[in-house]
């Protein structure tokens, strides 16, 4: 039972990341009809916003300590971060400790702007082109962004820890009436799940309960008719691209304490997220979220030793296996609409 609950929590955690990326992909596909293979790169840029803020907060001035030597035997250069000099050591260290949550404030405008530039500068030229062209250009863009990140930050994963108060585990078992210590789960992973749930809820609420969202939904259903009503739907769709980029960026920032960011992290998520979108149903936002969590949990259970003892290697193929079964039985995915990508 303990192992079962742990794998459910793990699945929800993985599923949160898949669902957030798939949500952004679906928003872009549903509004602009573009298959965006650079969406994983947006997740990665978000993650590196956290790295960048960590580095900015760590910018230091050097003093020479004659009492110590470096590895070459020269007097040791001691780095003191400016934030510690300006705000005092205690406050300065606290600011650096909270660099990941603070990066959310940075990532929203940065990613929204990047998304807007990407849509206006590149994607709009491919609206009328075949999906294969869109895939090629966005995939190429993802490779370029990955290489740029590698050139600036190197190839090694970079540690971006969560604030000290979120280090360690929470005794989830006690909440469920089990023995103390039977199900302990990392605090930050629980924070990530809660963050995902709130973000997904906020996006749905925005689309469902605001006039802007209503127009966007109408545009997704019938772009031409909305245009004939005198509404500049293109401008709203550009905004949605920026929003999708911001969601991917926030997902990337919050994921950094779970998985140290590296230049290829976007690609690792991209393929799985596309499977999630297809399984959920192209263009269906609830489908993307549902499929994200479902495949996350399935992947988690497939990694259990008991399951792998029966079917070795199942953890590597479970997502694709389920995708094949679902597409054979429900060709439009779990919640796909008729007519999407069928012409």
């Amino acid at each position: 039972m303990d192992a079962f609950i742990l794998q459910v929590l793990n699945g929800l955690d993985k599923g949160s990341a898949y669902a957030l990326i798939a949500l952004g992909l679906t928003l872009i596909f549903g509004t602009l009809g573009v298959v965006n293979f650079a969406h994983g790169a947006l997740f990665m840029i978000g993650a590196f916003c956290a790295v960048t803020l960590q580095k900015i907060l760590g910018i230091s001035f050097q003093t020479i300590d004659d009492t110590q030597t470096d590895f070459l035997g020269n007097p040791l250069k001691v780095d003191t971060p400016y934030v510690e000099a300006w705000f005092g050591p205690e406050m300065g260290m606290a600011i650096q400790d909270w660099s990941v949550p603070l990066a959310i404030l940075l990532v929203i405008p940065v990613m929204f702007f990047l998304g807007w530039v990407m849509e206006r500068g590149l994607i709009k030229h491919f609206y009328t082109r075949p999906h294969a062209d869109q895939i090629l250009v966005t995939f190429g863009l993802a490779i370029v962004v990955g290489e740029l990140i590698k050139a600036f930050y190197g190839a090694n994963p970079i540690q971006t820890p969560a604030p000290d108060m979120f280090i360690g585990t929470l005794d989830v078992g006690v909440w469920l009436g089990m023995d103390a210590g039977s199900v302990a789960y990392p605090k930050w992973r629980l924070v990530y799940f809660a963050f995902s749930a709130v973000t997904i809820g906020a996006v749905f609420a925005f689309l469902q309960f605001t006039t802007f969202g209503m127009v966007v939904r109408a545009g997704m259903a019938d772009r031409e008719t909305v245009g004939l009503l005198g509404i500049d739907i293109d401008k709203r769709f550009t905004f949605m691209f920026g929003l999708a980029a911001a969601v991917a960026g926030m997902a990337g920032v919050m994921y950094t304490p779970i998985l140290s960011p590296h230049y290829n992290i976007g690609m690792d998520f991209l393929v799985l997220s596309f499977v999630v979108v297809v399984v959920g149903g192209m263009g269906s936002l609830p489908g993307a979220v549902l499929a994200g969590f479902m495949l996350g949990i399935l992947q988690s259970f497939a990694s259990m030793n008991e399951v792998k003892a029966v079917i070795p290697g199942i953890d590597q193929i479970i997502i694709y296996l389920v995708a094949i079964i679902i597409l054979l039985t429900r060709p439009r995915g779990l919640m796909g609409r008729k007519g999407v990508m069928e012409e």
Binding site: A3, K14, F71, A155, P157, P161, T169, N264, K308
Partner: protein, 448 residues
């Protein structure tokens, strides 16, 4: 009047053929100049540095490349000479090798065997390399070693730690300076016994390829000999990223020790995530839960940050050693790049110099001559103490370092501390040891 049948063109042709015919026996017997792949004919000779510049082991590969470039500089007389000043052999004078300037080409293996083979093949066929140096993954090293054997060039392995590289997959044209999984187990065993006693329940997470398998086998054998029990060994894919679903089952498995047979970025992620799951703070079977990383590198330690504190592992070499060779190399590398070299960098640097020295002693670039010069070669001054390249399997034997993550690091490079320099005698094994059984060194192949 008689008509002559000789023409100027005919005389030249006949002369050329006769000359070539007379020279042929000399050509065939002159092993020093021909009869082997990519025999250098000009004023330079080319090496191929085949390392991962992308993928989970990229950081190690890039550091290897830095060291290889430094070695070439030293061979060509640029810089302070580094370990050439401390090497027990004094054949290399900084004027290239056998009077030829050393050049090099680089390739990105991407930590993939097929890509590494294609890259090495291009280096041999297109660029004319006489020696390939690199690795950073045993799967890659074994694949490239096999290719070099078939092509007739020498492969000086870089970072490869699988027992199979000089075990069942050993080749006559391949040489490994780096230590192996068996040696890690032999060095770590006594230290782990002293630190954690004889009753431990060990859970292994193992990278699912040749290196992971043989390291796990070696460490399990070593710890079981102490009285430890191996609770479970779970194979994980290379580059998995999120290891949480492999770590969660450990919590209630009854294990009190986690052994991470992971390397590079995978180790950074799995160790960080294991600590996020609170493993290091747990008490199981009345003991503090402990984590062991049998194969360490400075780059991994830097990537793992404070998570590595107090964690035991082993290394081939470390920049903090105080012998003259280490000091010379650290000075050269540190002054050029601004930080200390990793043990991946060290092994590639040493391998490049060892190859150059062997060519000089053999008086030829012929791989069979070079192999003969390297077999059972004793040397010193390269940072590992007295070392021997065993002729029967082409494995180097030398001291091994047992390391621990620094408890109180004082600067950015103070990530690991040397716990013990395990003497070479403790990590030696017979060539027919069961963990190295199978395979055949075969005959040296000069190619062409």
């Amino acid at each position: 009047m008689s008509k002559s049948n000789f023409s100027r063109r005919g005389v030249l042709k006949t002369g050329a053929i006769a000359g070539a015919g007379l020279a042929l026996p000399t050509y065939l017997s002159a092993a020093s100049h021909a009869g082997y792949t990519n025999a250098p004919t000009g004023s330079s000779v080319k090496f191929g540095f085949n390392v991962p510049q992308t993928g989970p082991y990229a950081e190690e590969g890039l550091d290897e490349l830095r060291a290889q470039e430094l070695a070439v500089e030293h061979l060509n007389g640029i810089g302070d000479g580094g370990m050439l000043n401390t090497f027990s052999e004094k054949n290399l004078q900084g004027d290239g090798i056998l009077g030829k300037k050393v050049e090099f080409v680089t390739g990105d293996t991407q930590t993939k065997s097929d890509v590494a083979r294609a890259s090495a093949q291009s280096m041999i066929q297109k660029d004319g390399c006489v020696m390939i140096n690199g690795g950073s993954s045993s799967g890659v090293a074994i694949a490239v070693q096999g290719l070099c054997q078939d092509a007739g060039v020498i492969f000086m392995a870089g970072l490869t730690h699988s027992n199979d590289t000089t075990g069942k997959d050993k080749k006559a044209n391949g040489f490994r300076h780096f230590f192996n999984g068996y040696m890690s187990g032999a060095a770590l065993g006594p230290v782990l016994e002293k630190e954690y006693g004889n009753e431990r329940q060990a859970y292994h997470l193992t990278a699912d390829y040749t290196w992971g398998w043989t390291q796990q086998e070696s460490i399990a054998a070593s710890t079981e000999a102490l009285g430890w029990t191996t609770v479970q060994n779970v194979l994980t894919p290379v580059g998995a990223g999120d290891f949480s679903s492999y770590i969660a089952p450990i919590l209630n498995s009854g294990a009190d020790t986690l052994i991470l047979n992971h390397y590079g970025g995978d180790m950074v992620n799995s160790l960080t995530q294991a600590i996020q799951f609170g493993l290091k703070d747990k008490q199981v079977n009345g003991k503090d839960f402990t984590i062991i990383v049998p194969l360490y590198s400075e780059l991994m330690a830097a990537g793992a940050g404070s998570n590595i504190q107090g964690v035991f592992g082993s290394m081939n070499w470390n920049w903090q050693l105080q012998d003259a060779g280490t000091k010379a190399f650290v000075k050269s590398f540190g002054e050029k790049y601004g930080f200390p070299p990793s043990n991946a960098a060290h092994t590639c640097y040493v391998q490049t110099l060892l190859y150059a020295d062997a060519v000089t002693r053999a008086g030829t670039f012929n791989p069979c001559g070079v192999a003969e010069a390297l077999e059972d070669f004793d040397f010193d001054g390269m940072g590992n103490g007295p070392t021997t390249y065993r002729g029967s399997d082409h494995q180097c034997f030398k001291d091994v370092l047992v390391m621990k993550g620094s408890e109180n690091p004082t600067n950015a490079y103070d990530t690991l501390e040397i716990v013990e320099v395990t003497p070479r005698a403790q990590v030696e094994y017979p060539v027919d040891h069961p963990m190295f059984a199978g395979g055949d060194l075969g005959e040296c192949n000069p190619g062409a």
